[in-house]
Point group: C2
Chain length 368, copies 2
């Protein structure tokens, strides 16, 4: 589909989005502001993105007939989550341009192939080793040492499918995880901060990054993102350069997030890549109000082969996720007239469920 993907998609075109959660919802809103139509494909009834899209298909990712009809109805296809079954990806990408491309997706879907890919570029990751089954666990622990983290190679998010092994007492639970799925054992990185780069690359290879985000997690779920990052200027430049090298090597088109650990090593700052999310990312939600162009708008521009927008930050940023019953604070939040409240339209506030987020943009010290 190479020739076809290089055309510039005009307003009025239809963007197909696989997945119907909040990321798809915010992508749909960004697309609609450019006069683009959106068609969502998602299996869950009441998907948050259905409410803001011109069309939707509510069907399983295994339904080939529905996938074919969806692909036929759109001009370009993108997705909001990386765990799309390979058969669906193959079917869709054979019918219409798919961005980010299928190889970028399969590389980042699997922690082992992802870390192998990152290392192959000479970019530092945590030490890692494959644990195909529980029989391989003891040897892996011997090589990596403790503490270490055992993770399933696929389908993990928000701390699901991982176990920290601090002492031998944690090994039985780890063995159970290794019995249930193919795993990877990673050395524990003693980080000062968790940071992320949100960046975009378009079909013509143009690259653009937002400022470095500092992230705080609670119960393995992103809680707070803050900018600017309190790091050395060269560290921020290096972080963005890592994201660009990864995007180029993946021939990536769209917005991606690279999560990194910031490690302080003998007084020097060092970056260790944790993982790549081949999509818009929770730590980039602040860009809706806090940057000239949002990560969502950039993604839409990239996959339509439009020139990228300006990514300059407009102030000091704090973004807070509203998880589960945090949503009950909505009225208190809108009473803070500086707070930008975003709710995703989810009906049930289950524990650990991302219900919305709030962004504050404070005047930057430099601008005062």
């Amino acid at each position: 589909m190479a020739a076809e993907t290089e055309t510039i998609l005009p307003p009025g075109s239809t963007i197909g989005i696989v997945g119907g959660g909040q990321l798809a919802r915010m992508l749909a809103i960004a697309a609609s502001q450019y006069g683009l139509k959106v068609h969502i494909y998602a299996p869950e009834a009441n998907s948050p993105a259905f409410e803001v899209s011109a069309a939707h298909t509510c069907a399983s990712y295994e339904d080939e007939e529905k996938l074919r009809q969806f692909a036929a109805a759109v001009d370009v296809i993108t997705y909001e989550f990386e765990n799309i079954p390979a058969a669906a990806v193959s079917l869709l990408s054979n019918m219409k341009p798919l961005h980010p491309n299928a190889e970028a997706l399969s590389t980042t879907q699997d922690r082992l192939s992802e870390k192998t890919f990152i290392s192959s570029l000479g970019i530092e990751t945590a030490p890692f080793i494959a644990v195909p089954d529980s029989g391989a666990l003891d040897d892996a622990i011997t090589q990596i040492g403790l503490p270490a983290v055992l993770k399933t190679t696929r389908f993990g998010y928000d701390g699901k499918g991982q176990i920290i092994i601090r002492t031998e007492a944690d090994i039985p639970a780890a063995r159970k995880l290794a019995d249930s799925a193919v795993c990877i054992l990673e050395g524990f990185v003693p980080f000062r901060e968790e940071v992320s780069v949100i960046a975009t690359r378009n079909l013509s290879g143009a690259f653009s990054s937002f400022d470095l985000c500092v992230n705080e997690h609670k119960n393995h779920i992103l809680d707070i993102t803050r900018l600017p990052a309190n790091v050395k200027a060269e560290t921020e430049i290096q972080a963005i350069s890592i994201a660009q090298r990864l995007a180029n090597a993946l021939d990536y088109v769209g917005t991606l997030a690279v999560e990194m650990f910031l490690v302080e090593d003998k007084g020097k700052e060092k970056l260790v890549v944790n993982e790549i999310a081949p999509r818009v990312h929770n730590s980039g939600h602040w860009t809706i109000e806090g940057a000239v162009t949002s990560q969502f708008a950039q993604h839409i521009r990239a996959i339509c082969n439009w020139p990228l927008g300006q990514t300059q930050r407009t102030g000091r940023i704090k973004m807070r996720n509203l998880i589960g019953h945090d949503i009950n604070d909505w009225l208190e939040i809108v009473t803070d007239e500086q707070a930008h409240l975003h709710l995703y339209g989810k009906e049930e506030a289950r524990e650990g469920r991302k219900m919305g987020h709030v962004t504050w943009v404070f005047p930057d010290k430099m601008a005062q």
Copy 2:
């Protein structure tokens, strides 16, 4: 419905919007960011707002059954245009809270009742006189003098339904207009600038205004809006105070626009009110990127009885409308990485049709 209207509508509620054009589209986007659902009622198939709303009813404003079903399906009703038939307004407002209220709508739907209302508050308008039919035209001209503007009292917008009478040669065409509809003759105001106030009042009576907008028209259609206005500080304060007095007197709930002429009279600046738009307004589109809270978000907050957001301007503003074939410049516009392009998803670029707009937010001199 007084008791009912004073409740605070929580996220998850459904906003009914009458009218499906770009104003409804941008209201729907603002509502969805707060986790509110939107149901659009509009007679035109392919209404721009249908594409971003959870539900829509495509039916005539005379279809009582459909209006009733619409009202039953929503929690609160608002509208994007003032020419809704009185019977529809009455039916809807008897079933659900309608904001802005029916009297505010009927007062501003008719240029004669609107100007009479404004004058009754001691606020200056152009001199005006009713021209119920063409027989009354000569007397009216004698009283008002030339130049003057003859306007139909209802259904006029973007220069439609009005004729400037500069000399006696223009009178035959004016007579024809007065034969076709009830008219009003207004004295011509020799203005230095056309300005507008976009302001919002919520159910609790809280009032909030954006900065004064300066508007340039082309072929009677808004072309450019700029901020800040180059007027004396007390003039801007007075303009906002006029908007507040009008909103209070109308017991107005929602965002409104007050269009005014800025007249220079013996070295002093004077404001003459031209008209009130009981809705979000084209000269307020810049607030999406140029103010902390947009006029659309403020309108949604007001009709849900939420506290209003901050209206502070974030820079120097230029907003340009894309009319008809202006839309063909879209690629050039997105190549300007500071330009915020908005397109409304309209299929046919007819002459005079509002297809989109562009907003630029430049660093304010004060912030540099």
